[in-house]
């Protein structure tokens, strides 16, 4: 009996922590732009080199 009460309180606490984490991430704007960051990390920092040779046309 007691063990069930304990388990339930633990599971609820964990669930509420995750809910709170989600609410926080939502409020802090992490879901405002779901596309930009995924491509931004792929941009290379450009070296200082003067060779403007994009591929053929």
């Amino acid at each position: 009996m007691l063990i069930i009460v304990l388990l339930i309180s633990i599971s609820l606490t964990i669930a509420i922590i995750f809910l709170a984490a989600f609410v926080w991430s939502m409020r802090s704007g992490q879901f405002d732009d779901t596309y930009g960051p995924s491509v931004r990390m792929l941009f290379d920092d450009k070296k200082k080199k003067h060779t403007p040779t994009p591929k053929d046309a």
């Binding site: 009996m1 069930i4 009460v5 339930i8 609820l12 669930a15 809910l19 989600f22 609410v23 939502m26 409020r27 704007g29 879901f31 405002d32 732009d33 779901t34 596309y35 930009g36 491509v39 931004r40 941009f43 450009k46 003067h50 403007p52 040779t53 994009p54 591929k55 053929d56 046309a57």
Partner: protein, 795 residues
């Protein structure tokens, strides 16, 4: 990337087919001067990586009107736009509708390499905004906007709503949804003993679970479901009944009954039903807002005016907000700027393009002392004007104001959902009353239990879901096929349309033209003329340059463009003049179409006749629409009456020389004859008519052009499908009503169970989600099936 040199090379910058190879840099083709220029700016600054992320990522500068953003430097405007301002650091967020691909993000975030003074820029792709941190000592706000515009990323500045940040309201909705979903899941878990009938074994545990359920359900009711209560209260105070009233009553009944059940230990409560209900309702609302967001377009007409104009004050020219202009103010209008208010011309001569007002793109000449109307765009040299009326009173704004503020026709419509909700609420109340009376005499002890059961299951969750899912899905279908609607209510109004009125310019006729040359010119001479017109920005020159196939390498010298008359130049030793009959020394004849005359070395050689092209699909469309088509209205001369008659057969009225006001009156006349009118037009010259009509549709061949008064924007090539859209709108109303019927069916079952006093929490927990899910499923599937059938022939 293969180098296929086909007949038409694609522009390296924007990917559009190049009409000619006049613009060639570094072995790359460009369709226009603007694209070439952007490429050169980028390659000079070593930013050609732009072209490696996406193929032809650029935005063509062909259709983007030239605009100057220097007015942003005016202190009042600056303060309104900046998010943060100090001596050496400022932050601004621009709304840039043209952001569309990875390359855009990359370029805009490398702005600091292009423009000294920019510290950092960050793109929000979903919101299409770019946030720029910059040093105001090194670069001004206006300069910044001009740099963006020169790259094809002109910001849309809108002072009434400022730049648009991500709406916090939609964030809040997601949080509410998350909490409801969390609670729904957990309460179902904690109700498992209940579902499986294990309640005899351990009563204390069951009681604990019940109280936990109550604790979890409270935030759902009062935070997630808050809006239903406030909306219900609002509509209650206005003595109206909308769909939120029965929902709020249902939620309240569920909460109170469950709490009482638990407190008196007479049952486990209905918290799973309650939270599930709120969860499904919020999903519907979220889906609705998602659909609207993706289709949202700015209805604010003010963004069309360049918001400031140069005014003479304190001994110098200063930018002033157009709405601050007073009569007798001296203003200066530059090339391509719009005259903001009715004014008298001070300079000796000027040319104005009234295509915003009349649809005619031929510039109109005005002399000193003449009254110039608001909305005219100056072509050529800067001129000075004396303001006569405040901007808000002038002709054009009064038309727009009329349009913008009298949305009478929108409020007249009682939405189907509201009508249904009212009927529904009264039925439920009557049933509850009858049940209460019956049980009062039959079994008084159980009267309150049965009464609350009735109110609980009557909660029209499925009813509330039917509308957003039917219309939301239909909006998506329309959007996929090039018809963008302002909101879902428009579909309802389209369904009721029984009269159509077409505008001519840009709607029935397409911007492109057929050009015939009457006279004799050698291919070489034709080439010379092409070289000549290519140097001019005049609309007729642009059309000619596009149409003439012959080319010439001969140098163009002594080029001179006389605004309103024509161009003259020396090519290959020949003196060539192009333009009006008087300018070129031709005899003037009454013409039926626009003509451009050619003179070489003083000899009249003939003229180009330029005729607008009728969209080929219009004729069959008109036939299919049959007697719904009522009229064609046009601001132009009746030179093309016979051609139009061949498209619009006899009963259709053909009206020419119609001012924007005439068009509007025509529509309201039709409405007085009890017609529901759809106006199909192209732009601002019929904005009053678009607004007056029950459904205003703007046809555009470039979705970047936005018409504020319209209810929907139809992509030009899709005009031929207009009848399909009309049919689909009718069918969506049918689907919606079927959805209502399904919802009522479930409600009838649940109500009969509740009224007979057999409603257990388990039955409620099963019935309520099933009704919601089946309504959502039915409407979604039905809409997609109907749409697929409609567009099967021409997807």
């Amino acid at each position: 990337m293969e180098t296929l040199v086909a007949q038409k090379a694609a522009c390296y910058h924007c990917g559009q087919p190049c009409e000619e190879d006049a613009f060639k840099v570094d072995e790359k083709d460009f369709c226009c001067f603007g694209c070439k220029m952007v490429y050169e700016i980028l390659s000079e600054n070593n930013l050609c990586e732009y072209y490696t992320f996406d193929k032809n990522p650029g935005i063509t500068l062909r259709h983007i009107p030239e605009a100057t953003f220097s007015y942003l430097d005016e202190v009042a405007i600056r303060r309104q736009l900046l998010e943060f301002d100090s001596a050496a650091f400022a932050r601004v967020r621009f709304y840039v509708p043209n952001i569309h691909c990875i390359s855009c993000i990359w370029l805009l975030e490398n702005l600091q390499k292009l423009q000294p003074g920019v510290l950092k820029s960050e793109v929000n792709f979903s919101g299409k905004t770019v946030r720029i941190d910059y040093n105001p000592e090194l670069v001004s706000l206006g300069k910044l906007a001009n740099v963006l515009a020169s790259l094809g990323y002109a910001p849309r500045v809108n002072l009434t709503k400022e730049s648009r940040p991500v709406a916090p309201a939609s964030r809040q909705l997601v949080v509410k949804l998350a909490i409801a979903g969390f609670a729904f899941g957990n309460i179902m878990l904690l109700s498992f003993p209940e579902y499986l009938g294990l309640n005899e074994s351990d009563v204390t545990l069951q009681r604990l679970f019940s109280w936990l359920n109550l604790a979890i359900a409270l935030p759902v009711t009062f935070y997630s479901g808050q809006e239903y209560f406030t909306n219900a209260w609002k509509s209650f105070r206005q003595r109206q009944i909308n769909i939120d009233v029965p929902i709020a009553v249902g939620l309240l009944a569920l909460l109170l009954r469950s709490t009482v059940d638990i407190a008196t230990q007479s049952g486990p409560g209905y918290f799973d039903s309650l939270t599930g209900l709120v969860f499904f309702l919020l999903i519907g609302r979220w889906f609705q807002s998602k659909t609207y967001d993706s289709l949202a377009f700015d209805r604010d007409y003010k963004s069309y005016f360049p918001l400031a104009i140069q005014r003479w004050a304190h001994g110098e020219w200063r930018a002033a907000v157009v709405y601050d202009l007073e009569p007798q103010d001296l203003i200066r209008v530059r090339n391509m700027e719009i005259v903001p208010a009715d004014s008298i011309l001070k300079s000796s001569v000027a040319f104005f393009d009234y295509s915003f007002v009349t649809g005619e793109s031929k510039p109109v000449k005005a002399g000193a002392g003449e009254l110039v109307y608001a909305g005219g765009k100056l072509i050529g040299q800067p001129v000075e004007l004396v303001v006569q009326k405040k901007t808000a009173q002038s002709q054009l704004t009064s038309l727009w104001n009329e349009a913008a503020f009298q949305k009478s026709n929108e409020s007249v419509y009682k939405k189907i959902i509201d009508r249904a909700a009212r009927r529904f609420t009264w039925i439920v109340l009557a049933l509850a009353l009858a049940t209460g009376v019956f049980w009062f005499y039959y079994d008084t002890a159980n009267m309150w239990l049965v009464l609350t059961s009735v109110l609980m299951v009557a909660c029209p969750c499925a009813l509330a879901l039917a509308t957003p899912f039917t219309y939301g899905n239909m909006l998506r279908v329309f959007g996929r096929h090039g018809f963008y609607l302002k909101n879902a209510d428009v579909i309802e109004r389209i369904a009721s349309v029984n009269a159509l009125v077409f505008d001519k310019t840009g709607t029935v006729t397409h911007g492109a033209s057929t050009i015939t040359f009457n006279g004799v010119l050698s291919p070489q001479e034709m080439g010379w003329i092409k070289s000549m017109v290519a140097t001019s920005t005049h609309p007729l020159s642009a059309l000619l340059a596009k149409q003439i196939v012959e080319k010439s390498d001969a140098a163009v010298t002594d080029l001179k463009e006389i605004p309103g008359k024509g161009i003259q130049a020396v090519i290959g030793g020949k003196h060539i003049r192009l333009g009006s009959a008087a300018f070129t020394g031709h005899e003037a004849h009454p013409a039926t179409a626009t003509r451009v005359f050619v003179t070489i070395d003083g000899l009249a050689r003939g003229y180009f006749e330029i005729e607008t092209l009728i969209r080929p699909e219009v004729k069959t469309l008109v036939t299919r629409l049959g007697n719904k088509v009522k009229a064609l209205v046009s601001g132009d001369q009746p030179t093309e009456a016979s051609r139009m008659r061949s498209v619009f057969a006899q009963p259709v009225q053909l009206l020419f020389n119609q001012s924007p006001h005439d068009k509007m009156n025509f529509i309201s006349n039709l409405q007085q004859q009890n017609y529901k009118v759809m106006m199909v037009g192209d732009g601002l010259n019929d904005s009053g008519a678009l607004q007056q009509s029950d459904v205003g549709v703007a046809v555009t061949d470039d979705t970047g052009v936005f018409t504020p008064a319209s209810d929907g924007i139809l992509a030009g090539p899709m005009l031929g499908q207009l009848d399909s859209f009309l049919r689909l709108a009718k069918k969506s109303t049918l689907i919606l009503k079927t959805g209502f019927a399904i919802s009522f069916f479930y409600n009838a079952i649940a109500l009969s169970v509740a009224m007979s006093g057999f409603l257990t929490p388990l039955i409620a927990a099963i019935l309520m989600p099933i009704s919601s899910i089946s309504v959502v499923g039915f409407t979604t599937l039905a809409v997609n099936w109907v749409a697929r059938k409609e567009f099967k022939l021409n997807p």
